[in-house]
Symmetry: C2
Subunit: 83 residues, 2 copies
């Protein structure tokens, strides 16, 4: 079965976000009243699995092994079956 997982990866609170800080500074430089920017990432992963349960297990494993840094990132994901 084919699945599509949408994985949202964001920095845990307390971790500084250099890209977000640079973006906020650039927006203020353009004249916008911006007090902060946080940047996170979304991975859309197309995968094969035997069942939805297996797909969930595999995606959680991918997150821990490759897609996130468990020390500083939080993640969540949604999975849907593809036609």
């Amino acid at each position: 079965m084919r699945f599509k997982a949408t994985v949202y990866v964001s920095l845990k609170r307390g971790y500084s976000d250099p890209e977000g800080e640079t973006t906020a500074r650039a927006l203020r430089g353009l004249g916008y009243s911006v007090s902060g920017v946080r940047v996170s990432k979304v991975y859309e992963v197309e995968l094969e699995a035997e069942s939805r349960e297996e797909a969930e297990r595999l995606v959680d494993e991918m997150c821990r092994r490759l897609l996130t840094n468990p020390t500083k990132d939080d993640y969540r994901f949604e999975i849907r079956e593809r036609g």
Copy 2:
């Protein structure tokens, strides 16, 4: 008034996504049956505006001026008022 905008930026269809391709290759290298990965970005922007309408106008402008590359990116955003 204070608002928080969540801006989703993704590559338009047809544009190659080197980071996604590298990620897919790395996942296959780890043994996963992955046929493709697309990576997109989410900006959470805290801003001041006179009204929700002004906040929407400002965020759309930020997207076109700084947060996206209109040639190759699609974007959408949600805005909510903050306490």
